[in-house]
């Protein structure tokens, strides 16, 4: 039987560090993905993951369980990303270095199913999406990341961003519209994509 986050949190507060290790194991990948997509640098994203868990560990006694543990962790991570970007005074970007993408993207199960052309096409699209996401304001980008890649509900995002539900939807709509325009401009947009999908 899988132990819930709430149970692991309670045990961690009681001093069981192994339970917190389990929470780390459970959430380090999503947190890394969120941090990476926010700031676009692998090393910095790793640092932010470490910092996020460290902060969570220290603040655990004050965690009342009003929100889900994951939402709380996402909030810490987004705050750290915001601090990082302010400190560094740079916009996010995700330039995966040349020559490494095929390795990164051609994981064992994919390499058997996808041809090199597929991998390269996806790599290209991935780079375009990353660059297009980098043009979005922080709130829109966070809203899209939390909805698209982490499956949070509108309500959860609204609580996390501290804004009304309708604002979240507006941010999503505006963000997606900008992405559509950006991807169109780079020639990888929905029109081309749709065209290539339809037989």
């Amino acid at each position: 039987m899988t132990v819930t986050d709430e149970e692991l949190v309670a045990r961690s507060i009681a001093g069981d560090t192994e339970s917190f290790d389990q929470l780390i194991l459970r959430w380090e990948r999503p947190i890394y993905a969120l941090a990476y997509r926010q700031i676009g640098r692998e090393e910095d994203a790793r640092d932010i993951v470490q910092d996020a868990f460290l902060r969570a560990f220290r603040a655990l006694p004050g965690f009342k369980g009003e929100a889900k543990f994951s939402s709380w962790l996402y909030r810490i991570t987004l705050n750290l990303c915001r601090d990082f970007m302010r400190r560094a005074r740079r916009a996010p970007f995700a330039p995966t270095p040349e020559g490494r993408d095929v390795e990164d993207m051609a994981s064992a199960e994919r390499s058997t199913a996808e041809s090199i052309e597929d991998i390269l096409t996806r790599q290209d699209l991935s780079r375009h999406v990353a660059r297009a996401m980098g043009t979005l304001p922080e709130e829109q980008r966070s809203a899209i990341l939390l909805k698209e890649y982490h499956g949070l509900t509108f309500q959860e995002i609204a609580e996390l961003q501290g804004c009304p539900l309708s604002t979240v939807k507006t941010r999503l709509y505006q963000g997606l519209t900008v992405l559509r325009r950006e991807l169109d401009r780079r020639g990888t947009g929905p029109e081309r994509a749709e065209g290539s999908r339809t037989p």
């Binding site: 780390i24 890394y32 470490q50 507006t170």
Partner: protein, 265 residues
């Protein structure tokens, strides 16, 4: 069909697109899409953007964060000599006090005249001047200075703070193990144990990194091999085609020669 309830309503469009929100409303919007080309195009294009977003994956990385507790430092028998850590403001006040006293004792002189800006400490003055100064300053240096009272007050406040913080930090330091990184002194043995632990962790991380790199190299080689194989197959195909063409040409030539020789006969 244009419907002001739905057309240009991003709220409903987002609820429909992400299937999050009132189901009745979403169904109504779906029905609206059947008759409204503009909304249908909008929805289709945004759905395509969502599909493109799925292509963006973060690179693989090694994440093995664990909670590591520092061993609780054993109390040295000289620990009572070590003062408890002071708050930042107290340290700043102490530093100001030291600088103030040093400036007072050195008899710092700052003058700006025709010779320019002159900054001189008491001991760097000529002997004659120093003697003159000594005679004029028979009373203790800065005894009537206005900052003297302030310094005494700060000194007193620091002492009080120190006295108050002593029992609290002494009791807190014994029972409580700092979770991650405590500022207490460690013995040599503990340092060595900690260093060994860190080295082991580092070696493990390097091993994992190496394994990951090896896997990536193998994967890369495999990808390259498949690309090479495809290229070789293409090349062979081309060669085969050329060879076939050459053979056909030779056959035609032979036939021609045979025909010519038959005619001559």
């Amino acid at each position: 069909m244009n419907d002001p309830r739905y057309c240009g309503n991003s709220d409903i469009l987002m609820s429909y697109l992400y299937e999050d929100g009132d189901e009745h409303e979403r169904r109504a919007f779906e029905a609206h899409l059947q008759g409204c080309g503009r909304c249908a195009t909008d929805a289709a294009e945004l759905r395509a953007v969502r599909k493109d977003l799925a292509a963006w994956t973060p690179p693989e990385t090694v994440l093995d964060f664990r909670v590591v507790r520092d061993p609780a430092p054993a109390r040295s028998r000289w620990a009572w000599l070590t003062p408890p850590p002071l708050p930042a403001w107290a340290q700043l006040a102490a530093a100001s006090l030291v600088v103030g006293v040093a400036v007072g004792l050195s008899g710092l002189e700052i003058r700006y005249d025709q010779q320019g800006l002159v900054v001189r400490a008491g001991w760097s003055k000529p002997a004659a001047t120093r003697a003159a100064d000594a005679s004029t300053a028979a009373k203790p240096a800065g005894a009537d200075a206005p900052w003297r009272a302030d310094l005494v007050a700060v000194q007193e406040q620091l002492r009080n703070e120190w006295r108050q913080s002593l029992p609290v930090s002494a009791t807190a330091g014994q029972g409580q193990a700092s979770p991650i990184g405590s500022g207490k002194a460690m013995s040599d043995g503990e340092y060595m144990a900690r260093v060994r632990q860190l080295i082991e962790a580092s070696e493990m991380r390097k091993d994992r990194d190496l394994a990951l790199r090896l896997t990536q190299v193998v994967r890369d080689m495999d990808t390259q091999r498949r690309a090479d194989m495809a290229r070789v197959a293409d090349g062979l195909g081309v060669l085969e085609g050329r060879t076939g063409a050459a053979v056909a040409q030779q056959r035609e030539m032979m036939n021609y020669l045979v025909r010519v020789s038959q005619k001559q006969q």
